[in-house]
Assembly symmetry: C2
């Protein structure tokens, strides 16, 4: 049974999808802690409503590593094994990443390496792609860059705007993220270079 922390900055819809899958017994994990760097994040309130330990750790105006050290201290206190970024709008410091090698995962609303960074759905529409999707990946020090665990593709429709496309991608995110976390909590991911392989099962 892995001990999981969720880091978020917003509504936390991916946190809810992970929490649902864990509560249904689909993932051998328990949520030990939910941390938000935004006090008013709806995801933080959802966490408390569901009875999880929810912490607000302010990031605004603070040095990245100072913030990260406070977060890591809380994670260590709870003996967290796996950290899921779920709409957490901060790049992690190398200190943070080095404390949890291949234990931090993130979800991104594009088929990486296409459209990293902000507003991926808008980028995809502007590029005129017909297929996009979402990516669950390990976090390293580069933005949207670490080894990929799961990707799911999504069609772009001719009349899509960013909102419609985001909604269609989000439906797949809510499947891809629990799928990836399950593989990790079952120790079924092996990494070689940039490739993450599924073993056993």
């Amino acid at each position: 049974m892995k001990s999981v922390a969720i880091l978020l900055s917003g509504r936390g819809s991916n946190f809810l999808a992970l929490s649902d899958a864990i509560e249904r017994g689909e993932i051998p994990a328990r949520i030990a802690l939910v941390i938000s760097n935004i006090e008013s994040a709806p995801g933080l309130q959802h966490a408390k409503d569901r009875g999880y330990k929810g912490l607000f750790i302010p990031s605004k105006g603070r040095d990245r590593e100072e913030f990260d050290r406070e977060v890591v201290a809380e994670l260590q206190k709870e003996r967290v094994d796996v950290i899921c970024l779920a709409g957490f709008m901060r790049l992690l410091s190398s200190y943070f990443v080095s404390q949890y090698p291949t234990c931090i995962i993130n979800i991104h609303p594009s088929l990486l390496p296409a459209f990293p960074g902000l507003e991926s759905q808008k980028q995809a529409l502007e590029w005129g792609v017909k297929t996009t999707g979402c990516t669950v990946h390990f976090v390293d020090e580069e933005l949207d860059h670490g080894p990929i665990i799961v990707q799911r593709s999504v069609p772009v429709l001719d009349d899509d705007d960013a909102e419609a496309l985001s909604h269609r991608i989000l439906e797949q995110e809510h499947k891809a993220y629990p799928e990836a976390l399950k593989l990790i909590c079952e120790d079924r991911i092996k990494i070689e270079g940039r490739r993450a392989w599924i073993v056993g099962g």
Copy 2:
């Protein structure tokens, strides 16, 4: 009925897929001309075997625009409407592109903008993506860059090597390319900025 030319440098498997679809009556087009810049290209022999006009126009050691002017002269002689690049290993000059604006299409074995250029399948494996695919796009002066007409996604499997992945992508290329050419020959593609829309039908 559109008059189509195929430009190739190798085996021409996408040329055969297009030719098959045209011969089955699925695309309102006729193949007026097949041009290869490589004399020994199997695709050129296939063209002749199928009774098409096949031309070898050497490119080796020649100035790009000199070669392109000779190709364009042959295309004009046959009153070609649409040009399909099918494994044609040359970047087109701005002269060539300007003669056939939004009339030249290409197929690329990745979900562009990911993995442009050579050995896309190897690039995809090295990046560790779980989803790749193929892209049919209009050709502009930049490499693998013009507006996208069709994309199809393909899973990457854990035990894939470049050959196995290329084969799986190629199966989708042979569907995507006829699909895109059909839309073009039916005048059903409208371009706005980088986005290509399907109209009518």
